[in-house]
Assembly symmetry: D2
Homo-oligomer: 306 residues x 4
């Protein structure tokens, strides 16, 4: 049984990590969040110690290590721009880091993580749960034997309310913006399945939606990413994730619930994705963020024409 | 349709208010919390505006009022010691206040609320949802015809993990401590059903449990309140709420889910509980907080003898 | 003797208000700041109550009012974007508001203040201490008899380090940016002395400097505003404030130390500047903020040509 | 020239460190404080980078180190309970730590610092400027030749207003309370000059004053520590520090202004005080904090009898 600590316990994604630690039969011994709305922990590890201040959390982690009961893993669920700092904190305290996506906002911080991970012999892991989705895994396998360049139309809509733009997620300096928060799934899958980016054209780049054309080694992709309810066919649906590959529609709207646990199983079993494995998706997101949108022209996603 | 604002949106209890507003066919137009983990709002009112800073929330509320689209109600889910301030904020902005229990920590702040509520003609309401529990309502009705003094043993155990003491709930200055956070239900029901307190003896007063003997007009009560898992028969159960009245066991462990909606229905329908209606429960909690525990002696709750 | 409260006590400008309250023989009874570095108060009013939370400050203010020892004035030294909210707080609690410049960031919030001030019969005052500088006062008097249009070159350099951009002052949403934080002095003086703006051309608008050409009723003004050390002739000097009016150089670099006290004396003596009196300066700053800089062309300030 | 970073830049004591860095001809390159009232830096190092978030500060420190321009020293001016954590942060980033007194609140955290300091070969230094006061240095020298046990009456009064108790300094968990914040000077000097404590009796222990009797190897000390204005002879004086040793009055009320610079000179010159050197003073403060005050009885300080 491994001992875990978790940072960012009051946020949206933390319960998936708590569940994954529980379901892999490990123990969460300490949590930290500057917000104290962490009651959810009682459903998983009521005995976990809670620290509202980072400094006190650090002291506890250090004390455990000195006292011969070290914490083995640190699960990181903090805002994106803090990820690399908290990964460094993990390594300095001899913990293996399991970090939410995206690992970093700026590629140069990824370089440092790659270096640190290399020196540590592989102690930095990124959650990229969408790679584990059965539909995506199947597609990945299929593409091994594919030698042509596919035609792909990717639609990724997952609605968020007004609050989104006023939380850290809406702050580009803290989150990287929409193409990081949510888009990173899309760009990570695409580069994992279809290879590196050769051309990256951005048509629209707005706080609540973005779209573009991406030429990868094995695919030409028209992508559309949005958190607007208006982009869905009706007000009942909240989400749509679909990829049309050479005319075949792959729907992966559902089925994400257990992928964190599976991610943990992989990491604990000697697998998992390290910084160099997720680099391309981050680079694509970064390039999009830095681009000057061209407007709706050229090869655009069907939803843009409406 | 009434327009609501809600303050304290990231906390544990806020979703019950969102649900109540939804289920009573009203609209939540603005939420505030200093923590931005408020994504839950998307399940209820994705169009609600979110403000991380109180000052910006105030400006919005004021602007709506001046602009002819005033907000009618303010739902208050903030830490206990802020309740009276936020109720004042509601009244100053012509909103009716619906506030989580306990209305205040210190009785003298309740006096001010009573005065303000009186002057405003009834605009301050307290959520005391346990009064609406069918078992408790039935007991209340029964007691109207009861002329003797009942013998009551009240056991109220609802487990909380380590985090509890390190959140605002564990800070006596902010929450009032266990007898306010959780105990207020117990003392509110007791005084509502059995009348005012005549004697109030505290046997044990600890951060995670308290017990005592309470003599009310119509009942002599041995009470036991705890958040320790060890007080429950096994590790699977998380909660136990029971009252033995003259030998009859009334279990109200379950059935609390919809009581916020019912509370809202009452308030919107012209009923609801105002400051003077909840005064006695708060006074009992306050007296317990100020008491010097006597230790386990005299007429004590059965769990204390173990 | 009047009773004052002060909000924003840990900031840079608060000691001038404390001094002014002291020197006008009044008493500061309560201060608030979310930062607790407020030890400076001991040099002025060691008995003043300190509140780290706004809510507790509000409760104290309210309690004083109900208890018959109301607070008469609220001195407001908070970040710019909070000014209008805190002025509203003052009025709702029957306090007269003395607010740091600029009164607001957005002109529409000024409209509300004007309305509130009017309804309250004059309870909102803005500190615009540079109007009280002897050189400026003299110029103002002289201009009464001036019927032509003056030629003015205004240079306003006051250095700030790297921290400036990373504090709230560097955040345009919170401060309005350089043309508000520091520039407001410049635009306020100009409009007070030379009348309303007829044309407003912006040449340069950067986080650390701005420049433009302003046509007022009685002056054509080339202005240059900067916080860069490099704009000063040597590294020893920290500041330069000068206005060349029809060839005559008016230097007002020094002499600002006691102007807050004088501002207080005026307000307490029945004078002082109300929202409508400071409107034009704010409007000019706002127009500059919204402008699209033209680059260095046309009638530019001499420092721009270098 | 050495490169410094400083943490806790908005607080009361930080300017003394800035001055010391300046006066020892070194450079302050980066500062951190969660409060952004750090404009004072402009008087010393306007080019220093400012970080409002610890995480961004950490990233900068780490980046400098990797980039070949490491930061040599970290000056620590944070609240007491964070000192050991920030010292650890210094060492993990190859910086020498110069920390404000008291080094820690709890002696067991000092043990860890001693161990870390030992392993690092002497990289942890405590500011204990009162040891450098000429009057105290002289006394220390004199005591080398003293073989008897002195009779000492120590009076240490330095007034603080109402804010003190509501800042972190008034929070025993964060500061250790009065005997740490201010008293540490007193106990540090005493143990440095007169040797280890043999008996430690506490007569009074209140938030704003404390007094007791301390038997050291070479002195029997009646001490009195207070922040109450009422303990000074008149309202004009703010401070009184005096030690009567065998009837001779040593006044050290003034003369503290330049001792930080001198402390820095010592440390930079190979001297300075390390964790083991300041242990006894902290232990005495801790014992006092844990004691049960006896009330005014036995050998008490003259001010207690009044």
């Amino acid at each position: 049984m491994k001992r875990f600590a978790l940072i960012g316990a009051a946020g949206y994604i933390a319960p998936r990590h708590m569940k994954a630690i529980k379901e892999t039969d490990n123990e969460l011994v300490a949590i930290h969040d500057i917000a104290d709305s962490v009651g959810i922990i009682d459903s998983y590890f009521p005995n976990a110690k809670y620290f509202q201040e980072f400094e006190r959390f650090e002291r506890y982690v250090d004390k455990m290590r000195r006292g011969g009961t070290p914490i083995d893993y640190l699960s990181i669920c903090t805002p994106n721009y803090l990820h690399d700092v908290h990964i460094r904190f993990a390594l300095q305290n001899d913990m293996i880091a399991i970090c939410e996506k995206p690992l970093v906002v700026s590629p140069w911080n990824l370089s440092i993580l790659k270096e640190m991970d290399g020196l540590a012999g592989g102690k930095v892991f990124s959650i990229v749960q969408s790679r584990l989705h059965p539909s995506i895994e199947e597609l990945k396998k299929k593409m091994v034997h594919e030698h042509g360049v596919c035609d792909v139309t990717l639609t990724y809509i997952t609605t968020r309310g007004d609050w989104y733009l006023y939380s850290w997620k809406g702050n580009e300096k803290k989150s990287g913006g929409l193409v990081y928060n949510i888009g990173i799934h899309l760009f990570d899958i695409l580069s994992w399945v279809f290879g590196r980016a050769k051309e990256n054209v951005v048509h629209v780049y707005e706080p609540r939606r973005a779209a573009g054309y991406l030429q990868l080694e094995k695919a030409n992709v028209k992508w559309y990413l949005s958190i607007n309810q208006g982009d869905l066919p009706n007000t009942d649906s909240r989400m749509r994730r679909s990829m049309i590959v050479n005319g075949e529609d792959i729907d992966f709207t559902t089925g994400f619930e257990d992928l964190h646990t599976q991610s943990y199983q992989n990491i604990l079993g000697g697998g998992g994705y390290r910084p160099s494995d997720v680099e391309e998706g981050i680079r694509i997101a970064y390039d999009i963020k830095q681009s000057k949108p061209s407007g709706v022209r050229g090869t655009v996603h069907p939803l843009l024409k409406q």
